[in-house]
Amino acid sequence: MSDAWFWLLAAGLCASAVSVVRSRDLVRAVLWLALGLLLTAGLYAYLDAPFLAGVQVLTYVGGVATLMVFGVMVTRRHTSASAEASNDSNAVGVLAALGVFALLATAILKTDLPESSAPTQTTAELGRALLDTYLLAFEAVSLLLLAAIVGAVVIARRRDVETRETRGSAALPSIRVGRTEAD
């Protein structure tokens, strides 16, 4: 492995990231994002962190990107392929992006990063760290996620009940696929 790989991946990542923002079509933006996430996984693999790369693909490309796509599908009109992304708040977006970049850059520059220490057993160490050293933090995060899921379900259900009352229809309660077909 040489630096060429890094530059190739980084260039592709930057290009796809710019495309996400510049794309007028919402679905295309999501697809560019999926490519960007995939290339991030490539970076992880390049940095000898295969587990991280695999999980990145599994959760971000397979999960998050798919969920976004799903969201676009069930909320937009289905008859036209153009789901235009609104680019009204460009200035705020640029400011926020610069802020995050500055934050990350200072954090990275201030941290004393080791030159090159590719640990051989990253996966095992990662597992041990998660279930031993950082067990409490790990459990706290999973509890937070669980709370978020329950909250999302509650919000979705409430709206579901409202629409059913106003419409007076006995639509399938929990499956959204069936409902959108009827729309």
Partner: protein, 320 residues
């Protein structure tokens, strides 16, 4: 240089092998389904229709390549290629015998699951870019289905991983060769996990009884409605390769892979894979398809809780 050359030759051999088996797998399915329905299936091209896949290929190559006027051209054209690529890519880590493996990586199972997760995207891309109601509905159903069945698939695949203590598919097979196959390892644990994996695998590769994304009686041809010629062929190929590779993975994870008496490993691996492959067709041609909401219900009410319980059981088995 030598390493690169070996990798190239191995991957080429596996690629050709998988594609050949797939081509004649299609012939086999047509024969098999015909027999189940008291028909003869293909008989005209070659002896007992054996040259039918070649004839089909020639036909598909000559077909006009149509792209709908209102389609999103780039995405439309890219989708079938990614679909075929994902299906073939999964074959890389399947150990066909103790020595024939495309890539022996520590995280083989994770790699397989990651590739399986990406497989959803081309389906969506095709459904969306076609700009066709039926394609879009098919894409949406496929998305919902894949997202849901991803969960029991991943969880049930974790059972052999936990029992063998490794994510390397070759190591899992070695573990089974040393002890007993995981499907009958502790039978109360392995067998349900195997059945769950098979079900989720059927759902992921959109086969009957889970082929709602392309239910032809309602959706014409689902996501492939607007595709013709070689692009359709790529989807078709991807689907069959996916089934084949998934059968091979199930054989490796649960049925001992290349482990077996008398014959060399490759024979056993091929035998087990083809047996599962046949099983998939058997199910396909004897069962009806589920309704979309029944499918979701089955996944979330039954498969997910059971797979979580199995995961806990596997953990307990290893610890105790």
């Amino acid at each position: 240089m030598n390493v690169v050359l070996t990798a190239l030759v191995t991957s080429l051999a596996i690629l050709v092998g998988v594609l050949t088996v797939t081509a004649w797998g299609i012939w086999f399915e047509r024969k098999f389904s015909a027999r189940l329905q008291s028909r003869l299936g293909p008989t005209m091209v070659g002896p007992v229709g054996l040259a039918q896949p070649l004839a089909d290929l020639m036909k598909l190559l000559q077909k006009e390549d149509l792209v709908p006027e209102a389609a999103d051209r780039a995405v439309f054209n890219l989708a079938p290629q990614i679909a075929a690529l994902c299906a073939l890519g999964a074959a890389a880590v399947v150990p066909f015998s103790a020595h024939i493996v495309g890539a022996k990586i520590d995280l083989g199972v994770l790699y397989l699951l990651a590739i399986g997760a990406v497989t959803v995207l081309p389906v969506f891309m095709a459904g969306w870019a076609s700009n066709n109601k039926f394609a879009l509905l098919g894409g949406m159903r496929a998305l919902a289905q894949s997202l849901s069945y991803e969960v029991p698939l991943v969880l049930s695949a974790m059972v052999p991983v936990i029992l063998a203590g490794s994510m390397d598919v070759s190591k899992i097979v070695e573990y089974q060769a040393a002890g007993s196959w995981i499907a009958i390892g502790p039978v109360w644990l392995g067998l349900p996990a195997f059945v769950l994996f098979l079900l989720a695998m059927l759902a992921e590769s959109n086969r009957i009884p889970f082929d709602i994304p392309e239910a032809e009686s309602e959706l014409v041809a689902g996501i492939t409605t607007e595709y013709s010629g070689m692009k359709f062929a790529l989807f078709y190929l991807g689907e069959y390769v996916h089934t084949l590779v998934a059968s091979a993975v199930a054989a490796a994870l649960f049925l001992g892979g290349w482990d077996g008496p008398f014959a060399p490993g490759l024979h056993w691996m091929v035998l087990k894979t083809l047996a599962l492959f046949t099983f998939v067709y058997w199910v396909r041609w004897s069962l009806l398809r589920f309704r979309s909401d029944q499918l979701m219900k089955m996944c979330w009410y039954w498969l997910v809780p059971i797979s979580v319980a199995l995961l806990l059981g596997a953990g307990a088995w290893v610890v105790l």
